[in-house]
Amino acid sequence: MGPGDNGRGGLGLALAILLSALAHIGLLYSGLVLIPRWLAEQPAPPPVYTVAVVDNLPAGDLGTHLPQLNRPQSPPRKTLPPPRPPKPPKTAKASAPNSDTKAFALNKRGDMTPTPTPTPTPAQATAAPTVPPTPRPTARPTRRATTRPTATAHRVMTTPRPTARAKRPRPTATPRARRAGPRETPKRMLAQATPKPTPGVREQMAALRKQLLLDSLKHRKVIAQRHEGEGGGPLESNVSSGGQGYGVGPGHESAGMLKDPLFLLYYTQVQERIKKAWTFSGGNSDLTATIEFAIGPDGQLLNYQVQRSSRNDAYDESVIRAIKRAAPFPPPPPDYRDAFSRGVEATFRLGELNS
């Protein structure tokens, strides 16, 4: 493509128009059908009405069985003991109530009968990350204008494209780039979106999706700032807030993780789910417990153990229930499946709620 194209004559022009038309159709298709579908299927949590796959439970009748939630687990991690072998189901006798024939003798705590298989419970509704935030009025459109065309420069696409396309594929994209730091983001977006000669659609969609995630993240951040009592999350951990911050932890990959909106979004989702699922009343505000657990590639809770007990059984139990109720989580982003299945830890502080 160059200035000489026009001189090639009618055939060349017709070809160019045809290709352009095809490309537009393809783009339209991807924009209106593929991307929404992909966005819907990838980061969204499983549907609310799932049926747990338990050995001794009859299949449900909701017709929405998930194929198999209990995938083979990832290889044993250093930090966590191997998954507990499921205990054999108790017999009918074991689960029978404590007999109280003397009318009202109060028995001690009832049998704690574990289920044969730990099955993830259906996801509770979580905020899907697809909420498109409204762009800030201060947005400068320049960056997108410069980065995008480069990123999507396809050989196939010819003349009319640049202007028409530049707007099309980013209906929900916002000028987040401005906040995202002058150097990092554009570079990364470039890297992500640089097309291979032919298809390009996947990369474009990846870039788009990423941008949407970033937007969603920003949106959450805005919300978190508005409702100061809640929220939190790794974003704020950089601000010197007197040790009250939210640790994203660390490690070898952390530097890379923390720059990745996919990671940050996922991290925030998990944190919000756990908090929402946690109920506790009573006790004093000093109570703190740390639980170690792992999230499998499908988002299932692989394993958990109390790493540091609060020395209050009821509190520890409430924290374990919170993790179980929050599970299954959405599947971690592919790049971080290892990190999440290696194990994470969550510290639950009762805080100053019970003063």
Partner: protein, 448 residues
């Protein structure tokens, strides 16, 4: 989850707003965010809710409860009690997916996803077998997410005992979840003007069922107290013309009068053992505390002097007694060993502190303090700084020590209110607005 202390400066907030994601991308994780184990770390401050969502399914009818009356009764009382406990939020039955008559109630016989999908954290299921003479209820508490049984009980009794079965199961549920038995299998005595202008003594349950009228005389009846076995109720009545103590036997419904020639009886409390009372006896302007046997003979004089000593109250095992005395110039709370010894002053702040109630464990005292109106306050048994909880009078502790019941007039009628002590939360009024309800006394548990 708060990301900043409440008092965060505007500058800090601005920093958050301005730097935001950009900073994050450039700087990465700060050093202090690293967990020692090298794992990803979440920090979760404060539960999403203080109230655990619980679903209470109707009991499966195994025979004799075709109309579901027993089941409905059990579920109603249990629901009311669990709501009053301050630990739960009941999920409305309209949301339930499962039909309890068509599914099982034991582990493995029903589908937990029917309950996790309505976001229940806990689930109560059970079964009933009823005949004219005997009702048997099996009841279970399940942890929905873990799909495990936390509590399982079988209750068997007469049809009129279904209320109590529900209360005992509520207590067992609290034991299973909080580690501490609930307070519902107990009685509340109170003074009420319902049904007339006279102050009469009644006994009820926390859930308002099983109201029983103890006195029926056109005078004034006051200051009920239970013995620990909940076999007797002591109260003061003017029905003979002058105030006397009466010990009412809850089983036989008979009462004995306790009087003394030492002076005028101005109220008292029955000892936990039930075989003696501590009475305030007035003579010549001085009021002192005497321990009397049930015939009115003096076992021991506990206070001496010309001051006023009233409002005796015992802890659960009777090893401590609190009372009000104005020996220091103003009414204040004192404690002493009822077997004798020196009294020790507990309250020093405020100039009018009365009506002490020692917690069952004996570690705290609730009392009323007057300071532009009456308020309920709490103080350690060794004194210290009191905590004022709410407007009200005449506090009484639950047997588990987690709750107080007291009277307060908030709408022109005095009612009894239930409060969770540690949170200071007033959970609900216990009495309706049918006459003034005052002077509550919370009994020990009715059974082991």
């Amino acid at each position: 989850m708060r990301f900043q202390p409440y008092g965060a400066t505007c500058a800090q907030r601005a920093l958050v707003a301005v730097l935001g994601l950009g900073t994050l991308l450039l700087i990465g994780a700060p050093a202090w965010a690293q967990s020692q184990s090298g794992l990803l770390h979440f920090d979760i401050v404060g539960p999403g809710s203080k109230l655990a969502p619980i679903a209470i399914s109707q009991l499966k009818n195994l025979g004799g409860d075709d109309e579901g009356e027993v089941s409905a009764h059990f579920v109603n009382v249990l629901s009311r009690d669990l709501e009053l406990s301050g630990y739960f939020r009941l999920i409305k039955p309209e949301a339930y997916i499962e039909n309890p008559q068509q599914s099982g109630y034991q582990l493995g016989q029903f589908n937990f996803t029917d309950w996790s999908s309505i976001n229940a954290e806990f689930l109560v299921k059970g079964a009933v077998t009823a005949s004219d003479a005997v009702v048997t209820i099996d009841a279970f508490l399940y942890d929905v997410a873990a799909q495990k049984q936390l509590v399982g009980k079988r209750f068997s009794g007469a049809p009129q005992d279904v209320n109590r079965m529900a209360r005992r199961f509520a207590d067992a549920i609290l034991a299973g979840i909080t580690g501490q038995r609930g307070p519902f299998d107990s009685k509340i005595a109170l003074v009420s003007t319902r049904g007339g202008r006279f102050k009469e003594i009644y006994i009820t349950s926390l859930d308002g069922e099983d109201l029983y009228r103890v006195t029926n005389n056109p005078t004034i009846n006051l200051s009920p107290s239970f013995d620990r076995g909940v076999g007797h109720l002591l109260y003061t009545s003017f029905k003979s013309g002058s105030p006397d103590l009466y010990l009412f036997n809850l089983a036989t419904k008979r009462e004995i009068r306790i009087s003394t020639d030492r002076g005028l009886l101005l109220g008292g409390a029955v000892s936990p053992g039930g075989n003696s009372v501590v009475a305030a006896v007035e003579r010549g302007g001085a009021t002192n505390l005497f321990m009397l046997d049930l015939q009115g003979n003096v076992i021991r004089q506990l206070t001496r002097g010309g001051s006023i000593n009233v409002n005796p109250s015992f802890n659960a095992d009777g090893s401590l007694m609190a009372f009000t005395s104005d020996r220091g110039g103003t009414p204040q709370i004192y404690v002493m060993n009822p077997q004798g010894g020196e009294a020790r002053r507990v309250t020093y702040s405020g100039s009018y502190n009365t009506d002490p109630a020692i917690s069952p464990k004996g570690d705290r005292i609730a009392y009323q303090t007057r300071n532009g109106g009456f308020h309920i306050a709490i103080i350690g048994i060794d004194g210290g700084q009191p905590t004022v909880l709410a407007a009200g009078q005449h506090p009484s502790w639950s047997p588990d020590g987690r709750y107080l019941i007291f009277s307060a007039d908030r709408s022109g009628t005095s009612r009894l209110y239930l409060m969770q002590v540690d949170s200071g939360k007033i959970i609900a009024p216990i009495t309706k607005e049918d006459g003034d309800a005052t002077d509550p006394a919370w009994s020990w548990w009715l059974g082991e």
